[in-house]
């Protein structure tokens, strides 16, 4: 196996994606978003711009949100990644936050939703009593084109109040 301390165009990495450990060979230039989508079937990680502006690719990386398109796959070696699929596994009921999104009509086309949920989940974990200003600051980097953010704000408040 090539020495990762030396320059290489491909690297072997190991990471956990939604509790499944995977060993992958990735290109040095490959982003975490690409690796997740193309090698780990994590299609809930969406690419809206590929340049870190829109937040559609937001995942949890070792306990903190990250824009997967701004992280190289190599940088996630040894890491635990959680995507939207970690909120409710197959057959499991929707998580309270997801239910709140549904109840408050916080999604229309759904393209931004996975990233939005990951950012909202982190917020409520860190600030269970987050006020409107904190909600807006936390989601400030997640772009939505459909909803005008009205339902999203209501949903995060509802999920907060339910806790």
């Amino acid at each position: 196996m090539p020495d990762p301390r030396e320059p290489a165009t491909t690297h072997e990495i190991e990471l956990t994606v939604d509790a499944t450990t995977r060993r992958l060979t990735v290109e040095a230039r490959e982003t975490l978003a690409e690796a997740l989508r193309e090698r780990c079937d994590a299609l809930g990680v969406r690419i809206g711009c590929g340049e870190g502006h829109c937040g559609a690719c937001t995942v949890d990386l070792d306990g903190a949100t990250a824009r997967a398109c701004t992280v190289l796959a190599v940088q996630a070696d040894g890491a635990a990644v959680r995507t939207v699929e970690s909120l409710a596994g197959p057959g499991e009921p929707l998580a309270p936050l997801q239910r709140a999104f549904r109840e408050q009509h916080a999604l229309q086309c759904g393209f931004c939703t996975a990233g939005m949920l990951m950012s909202a989940e982190e917020l409520l974990r860190e600030r269970p009593r987050a006020d409107d200003d904190e909600i807006r600051a936390a989601l400030s980097g997640n772009l939505c084109r459909c909803t005008g953010y009205q339902g999203i704000l209501r949903a995060v408040r509802a999920a907060r109040d339910e806790r």
């Binding site: 809930g44 990680v45 939207v84 409710a88 009509h105 086309c109 393209f111 400030s140 953010y149």
Partner: protein, 775 residues
């Protein structure tokens, strides 16, 4: 009260949401087919250039790993794309899928690169050497109209795609008699619809034969199918177009993309599936743009505030091609028809021009050509109000149409509406919001109120009233399956509007079944009847919904006939919630369906034993209305505009689902917000857009858009099925005006005249006279 009765109008939760929330949506970028190749386009870096034969050198690219082919126009013969609008005097501009000897805008594709992996295709595209011969170019209508300007199309003299003057009533007389004339210029911004999922498609050749299956991020699978047939020559019935999950569109995905044609041709040429997923920079630069009108508007009023006449010159920047489907006239021409807005103004004059430039073609985006003229008119009304000493809301109230039906000066027949009531609701919703003291001494507060009418529910009649040639009708198919489930097949898929929910509500109520038992099938041309227009123009609730309601009524009769035959019951039968009741007896729809399909004795007794109906519908024109009010803070220290409060009042007749109506209204208002304050593609003098990434093209985010207060009025249309009118573009038409008027109001002491959008900090400060040296 049964669950189904009242299905229309219920705030039902969306059936779409469960899988979207779980990350299970599958867009074009998520689909794979065996042996699939990824496509990346080689695009012009110049706004205008010529290519000599052999100018494209793909040798280095072809040597790179994973590269399967580099194809140019010469490799992929096809018929060019043409707009389908039939308006006298509109010149046509055939558009190739791949440019050959000439490129006409920065980003125009000249070659398609196919490789095993996306990154390889991008590497190869960068390695294609093209001997561009840059040519002179024009970027604005003024440049394009100047004597000696370079011609975007050799056969179109003066780059003039269209010029027409329309006169209704006696505008000259009205202006001559006016006590007050307000002249309002407006340079509208050029925008991008910028859905979060860009365009894309995956074309797979059939094994044997010339058929093709194309998955496309589209608003109209049947429309794309027709375009593909026209361009590629593949017979339409051997083309299958499927819209998978689509991540927003707002009009961008109505027309066929030249790239979609190129992908189809490439797949056929190499005999393998080919997928193209648009990148964001690609979308912002090379995808069609929107809006970009230059307007000179004037209002004539009496001293008492009566609006006597509206006159406007509307010059549209068409871009390099009159884009397929709706043409370049989607902007200035449609804008002209709605100049009266919701006001009873009798005299209107519009001079309409559309000019070709070396920029990306203009195509529909929410609000289309109605938005920017609306903004100009409302700004002028506010200035008139200030000049006459009448409150802006009051000036509007005096001129709003109050009696229906009302035939506007331009020939639109407003069927019903709550124009005054909506205005009053909007004013009430922001009452008091302007009173709170601003945070800093040099912050000013302003209020803007605007009323709008929206030609919604576009069928062919609606198009006719806009003097537009536009086939807009749908056929739907409704069937009850052998096990009693109901399937509705329609040609209008969603890109976020929730059709699977709302259309099921219509069917459930009209048919008499439970909403849960209705499935909407919309995505596959093989499975659905033709919609000539697809999902657009706020038409689905009225056209598709109307067709389904009519189909359901017919199917209901058949179910009742089956029930009557089975029950042999003289008492009147009722059908609700999937159960037929007659006297003391009842049958489920499931039982009816099984009998209708499998009981030969029963079938022999019925005139129409089958449970499938096809319904065509092309409704009368209907018009929604509403009002939007904005309270803003203008910080004269920075030029920053903060919207403190937004009131959104909506009347779309009978609502199918009020929650979805509010969601659509909110989304439209947020897009209008962006159009007022943030968005500008902004071509630089080099012919390249400055807004070429989401860092440069600024879209509204949650920290910018305030909470909105909503109110509804319901003025059912007397002309449509169930009084439904349709909506969706509302806020995109009117929100820029509400915000612009509020800013002008805040800076009224400075006599700030808004003449350009977006209202950037620099423009705000300049308008307030605060951007000179030393200040």
């Amino acid at each position: 009260m049964s669950a189904a009765a009242g299905a229309i109008g219920a705030r039902r939760r969306r059936v779409e949401d469960e899988r979207l929330l779980r990350g299970q949506a599958r867009h074009v970028g998520d689909l794979t087919r065996p042996r699939m190749l990824e496509a990346v386009f080689v695009r012009s870096p110049h706004p205008a250039a010529r290519l000599a034969p052999g100018a494209i050198d793909a040798r280095r690219a072809l040597a790179l790993p994973g590269v399967a082919a580099v194809l140019t126009a010469a490799d992929l013969p096809h018929a060019p794309l043409l707009d389908s609008v039939r308006i006298d005097g509109l010149r046509k501009t055939p558009q190739p899928a791949l440019a050959a000897e000439r490129v006409r805008f920065a980003g125009e594709p000249v070659a398609i690169v196919l490789a095993e992996r996306r990154a390889q295709a991008e590497d190869a595209a960068a390695a294609v050497a093209v001997a561009w011969e840059p040519a002179p170019f024009a970027l604005t209508p003024e440049q394009a109209a100047a004597p000696g300007a370079p011609l975007v199309h050799d056969e179109i003299a003066g780059n003039l795609l269209y010029a027409e003057r329309k006169r209704y009533g006696d505008p000259d007389g009205a202006f001559a008699a006016a006590d007050l004339v307000i002249e309002q210029p407006l340079t509208g911004n050029r925008q991008s619809a910028a859905p979060l999922e860009g365009r894309g498609c995956l074309a797979e050749p059939a094994a044997g034969g010339d058929g093709l299956t194309v998955w496309a991020s589209t608003m109209g699978p049947h429309l794309l199918r027709r375009r593909l047939a026209q361009s590629t020559g593949i017979p339409e019935q051997r083309l299958r177009v499927i819209a998978p999950d689509v991540g927003g569109s707002f009009g961008l995905k109505i027309p066929a993309a030249p790239e979609e044609i190129a992908v189809a041709l490439a797949a056929r040429a190499v005999g393998r599936p080919v997928r193209w997923v648009e990148g964001r920079r690609e979308q912002l630069v090379a995808a069609p743009h929107a809006k970009d009108q230059r307007i000179a508007l004037a209002l004539a009023l009496s001293r008492a505030g009566e609006l006597l006449a509206v006159r406007a010159t509307l010059v549209g920047n068409a871009g390099a091609y009159s884009f397929n489907s709706a043409s370049a006239l989607i902007e200035p021409y449609l804008g002209a028809g709605l100049l009266p807005g919701p006001y009873a103004v009798a005299h209107v004059e519009a001079e309409i021009r559309s000019l070709l430039t070396n920029t990306s073609p203009i195509s529909p985006y929410r609000g289309v050509g109605w938005t920017q003229p609306h903004t100009a008119r409302e700004l002028a009304l506010d200035r008139a109000a200030r000049a006459l000493g009448i409150a802006p809301a009051e000036l509007r109230r005096r001129n709003l149409v109050t009696r229906f039906p009302h035939r506007s000066a331009t020939g639109m027949v407003y069927d019903s509406g709550s124009y005054v009531a909506s205005l009053e609701s909007a004013v009430e919703l922001v009452a008091g919001a302007a009173e709170a003291a601003p945070s800093e001494p040099d912050v000013r507060v302003g209020v803007g109120v605007t009323t709008y009418v929206e030609p919604a529910g576009w069928g062919s009649d609606g198009a006719l009233q806009s003097e537009w040639s536009f086939a807009s009708h749908d056929a739907v198919r409704l069937q009850v399956d052998p096990t009693g489930g109901v399937l509705a097949a329609v040609g209008t898929p969603s890109q976020g509007q929730g059709h699977a929910t709302t259309l099921a509500q219509v069917v459930a109520e009209e048919l008499g079944v439970r909403v849960e038992d209705v499935a909407i099938v919309a995505q596959d041309t093989d499975a659905t009847p033709v919609s000539t227009a697809g999902t657009r123009a706020s038409r689905v609730a009225t056209v598709t919904g109307g067709a389904l309601a009519l189909a359901a009524r017919r199917l209901r009769e058949r179910l009742l006939a089956v029930a009557a035959a089975l029950l042999d019951e003289p008492a009147p039968l009722t059908l609700a919630d999937g159960i037929v009741r007659g006297g003391a007896r009842e049958l489920t729809v499931r039982e009816l369906a099984e009998a209708a399909h499998f009981d030969p004795a029963l079938r022999a007794r019925l005139a129409e034993p089958d449970l499938v109906v096809t319904q065509f519908h092309d409704p009368a024109a209907a018009y929604s209305n509403g009002a939007i009010a904005a309270v803003v803070e203008v910080d004269l220290g920075t030029g920053g505009v903060t919207v403190r409060r937004l009131a959104v009042v909506e009347d779309c007749g009978t609502m199918l689902n009020p929650t979805i109506v509010e969601g659509q209204a909110a989304g439209a208002v947020a897009q209008g917000f962006g159009g007022a304050l943030l968005e500008d593609v902004a071509y630089g003098p080099d012919g390249l857009p400055r807004g070429d990434s989401l860092g440069g093209y600024l879209l509204p985010r949650i920290a910018d858009v305030p909470e909105m207060a909503f109110a509804h009025h319901v003025s059912p249309s007397p002309l449509t099925v169930n009084g439904v009118k349709g909506m969706g573009e509302s806020g995109a038409i009117a929100a820029p005006a509400a915000i612009a008027c509020a800013v002008a109001d805040a800076l009224a002491p400075e006599r700030f005249v808004v003449e350009r959008l977006p209202l950037t900090p620099a423009r705000v400060l300049a308008g307030a006279g605060l951007l000179e040296e030393g200040r």
